[in-house]
Amino acid sequence: MKFKIYRYNPEQDAKPYVQSYELENVDPGAMLLTALLRIKDEQDETLSFRRSCGEGVCGSDGMNINGVNGLACITSVASLKQPIQIKPLPGLPVIRDLIIDMDQFYKQYRAVKPYLIVNDPMPEVELSQTPEQRENLDGLYECVLCACCSTSCPSFWWNPDKFLGPAALLQASRFIEDSRDQAVEKRLEDLEGPFKLFRCHTIMNCVNVCPKGLNPTKAIGRIKHKMVTRSL
């Protein structure tokens, strides 16, 4: 099985290059992460990439696989055309090989205050929700922050410091929709302006690549709908 992998070590290399690898006897049911770990173990220990849980829960092995962002640990090698071309997620600075600097991504994530804001005194037991209120959060809370969506979004490439990006906006929607949150007005107000939310042009790359099958475009639409309703 053939691989072409983006390599770049800023301490040694003047510019990035592509390195070819070949693996024998790859189990057709294997995931890409397993193949990458084999390359690292058997052929080149300098190859760098992030990984942790290995089963699509932690979101750390996001990479660009044959031109499409995805998680290596849940992408079957059998589904990929050879040579398998692997690059870091686009649009963010490369630290080394497939490892990107996610500071900008997390900065945008923090900007939406991704936590419940409750002004009333906290109840002794818990903040309860009806099953319907809880159901309203389905499709919003499952995000693993792998950054596959935001780094596939042209609007995020163009204005990564101003446009919040699909991942952060999905989180914004998750708390705007939460029946327990008491800062919805402020959250909507904070998203006003031409950049934070309204750079989204419904390109829907985010929907195509989300490894959890989520729909950030729909979530962004829900925020816009809330804003319109609120302004009427």
């Binding site: 204005n159 302006g193 031409p194 934070k196 750079r199 816009k224 804003m227 319109v228």
Partner: protein
């Protein structure tokens, strides 16, 4: 008023509402064009002299100008990152659109006068 005239939600809504109006107007204009007895300057002038048509054309021009402004503004905000160049392009665009609008309203006014 901010540099990015109209800001976030408002232009987004205006863009959609104006798009709907533009489509409806174009359908009406095409219908009038094909149902006209003669296609000539005089018949066009008579058509425009009708107060209903003057009004719908006037609203169409306003909708088109807003739609064009928001669309072009979005392109500039996406692609032009140098702030001075952005201001320059937006100012030129605003000038061109306001100029075009005034020109159209001069034509409408003259046609309304007869």
């Amino acid at each position: 008023m901010s540099l990015y005239v109209l800001e976030g939600l408002r232009p987004w809504v205006i863009q959609r509402v104006s798009a709907v109006y533009i489509v409806v107007f174009i359908l009406y204009a095409v219908f009038c064009f094909y149902s006209a007895d003669t296609i000539a300057y005089e018949s066009w002038k008579n058509w425009l002299y009708n107060p209903f048509n003057t009004t719908v054309v006037g609203i169409f021009v306003i909708a088109l100008l807003f739609h064009a402004w928001i669309g072009m503004r979005d392109v500039v905000l996406d692609y032009v990152h140098n702030i001075m160049l952005r201001i320059f392009i937006l100012a030129m665009l605003l000038g061109a659109l306001i100029g075009s609008g005034l020109w159209v309203f001069r034509i409408l006014l003259l046609s309304a006068v007869g």
